[in-house]
Symmetry: C2
Subunit: 336 residues, 2 copies
Amino acid sequence: MKHTTIIDIAKELGISKSTVSRALSGDTHNVKPETMRLISETAIRMGYQRNEMAVNLRRQSSRNIGIIIPEIVTSFFMNFIQHAQQELRQHGYRTIIAVSNEDPEQEVENLMMLQQCRVEGILMSVCHKDRNTQLYKDVTSHGIPIVFFDRKVEGIGASMVRIDDYLMAFFTVEKMIRSGCRKIVHLAGPDHISNGYDRHRGYREALEKFSIPYDKRYVIQGGLSAEEGAAAVEKFMSQGLDIDGLFGFTETSTLGAKSMLQKMNYRIPEDVSLCCISGTTLCTLVHPTVTAVEQPVIEMATLSCRLLLKQIANPNAATESVMLRGNIVERESFRT
Amino acid sequence: MKHTTIIDIAKELGISKSTVSRALSGDTHNVKPETMRLISETAIRMGYQRNEMAVNLRRQSSRNIGIIIPEIVTSFFMNFIQHAQQELRQHGYRTIIAVSNEDPEQEVENLMMLQQCRVEGILMSVCHKDRNTQLYKDVTSHGIPIVFFDRKVEGIGASMVRIDDYLMAFFTVEKMIRSGCRKIVHLAGPDHISNGYDRHRGYREALEKFSIPYDKRYVIQGGLSAEEGAAAVEKFMSQGLDIDGLFGFTETSTLGAKSMLQKMNYRIPEDVSLCCISGTTLCTLVHPTVTAVEQPVIEMATLSCRLLLKQIANPNAATESVMLRGNIVERESFRT
DNA sequence: GTGAAAGCGCTAACAG
DNA sequence: CTGTTAGCGCTTTCAC
């Protein structure tokens, strides 16, 4: 039941554990080929599995990277994890995934846990734009680099990979207006997520460009989930206001809103009357009536990992802030 | 930059590391209250974070549990992870998530990795019904219990938590027939996933019950993804056959198929003409035209964790096979 | 109540 | 090419 150790193998063969260790870590230069063969055969025969915890303790490096996301049910974060894991794995890193459930307290706990696991770096999408900023600073100053993705953090000079929410929102709403929408409801995100602010600004300025008056009543808190989106739109419709377009915050809440409109027998015009900024093609594929402006999730994952790995390799490297714009990737770099 | 250790604290206070260790692990019985207070204050002041790897090595226990899933983009697996993580966390366990990408080779690699991380148990949804059975046996015989969930494994007497796919498929198709469907296409899952077999059997026997002849041409390989579902249905429609209902395999591929039908301007009758067995309410919420029979994912996660924890606590405990039927939970227990 | 010492499994000098 | 030795950070006897 107890796991086989290099000492077991050494005893079995009547040699020292150093030689076994060398052989098993592929040090061909310092082990006789025959000994090598003998050792690896015995290792397999005895079902040896290297104890990573011992290796890490000795090496003073965990090869662990933490990923903290605010929620797990969105295809965007799922895809991000999928690709990040793939990328990091190629560089010999394991990933520890932690979910904060949109709750700053849980985020703190997760950060502690990751530090205790001695992660060498953290990829993180925050659940609050400035609530835990001080902690983030503490962590990075302890030599654990953090790369923030998707959601902006305020008051910190850390590496960040984001999408230009303002621009995407602006273009999306512009597109809606150009195809005839005039009374566009904006299902806004919560205040504590900065992306919501930027998207709202994009919505507002697009209206301005076409001299459509901005009406506060058309901006409603749409939340993050499908249920919240549905509830928001139901409440809005009860006011008896007219509507010919809807620009949602998350994919899920937009779909929830759509479903509610349908349920209320509210005619949904074709074309781009329903829009959101989505993580994947899945949304447009399964909902031909919803136009999703796609977030470049694969690029975001790849870039985030690259940035993090660079900072792990060179702790004094400059932090970089990357802004993705659909297929267009623009970078700006600055020193802290 | 280097992390603070208990030795650093001991030196700072001019006491021994044993006392520090005792204090920090809350041994009130053997440390003077004043020393206790002093130590915890210093620990906080110096930013001490316990090194989990050292603790685990010393304690010979990792408090890690591995979760292996075949894919990550489905809401079902996401929800499972979410709830499992929550449950395990309450019992002081961390989770390491690994994705096999529906590939048995990657599954082997993941299993190796988890063993090297000395996980104390594994929750797993396999990607092939019998391809890696021998390895599963090796792992469990090494004292690492595995609880298989959702997808059945053949030729092994391990713990399993599953849904009754046959029964759910039968009921679903029966419901479709009762509401008028006669020419029901079954978007079948791949052969190497046993759930597909059971659902197909449910489809077939439901037809039989109503004396509707079974037509092989109406059973098409629908794959797992939206793209595969769309392609399958497109190919089917090109044969010029009539159709008035569709029973899909996964939520995603069913939605893909629906989208394709819509694209081809094929009239989709209301009611239960489109059905699938889904992981969450999300599907029915955002797609009023798709009826989803809901899988009890929360129960599945909770039960899987309970079973696993029981086996970790008592390695000689009997393996248990639990079958969930919607809200009805039935159990059968057997000894290996 | 506290300290000294052993050791978890492994790697990495340093000898030979 | 191989063995000896020290120690990563921590817990846990065993003395005092």
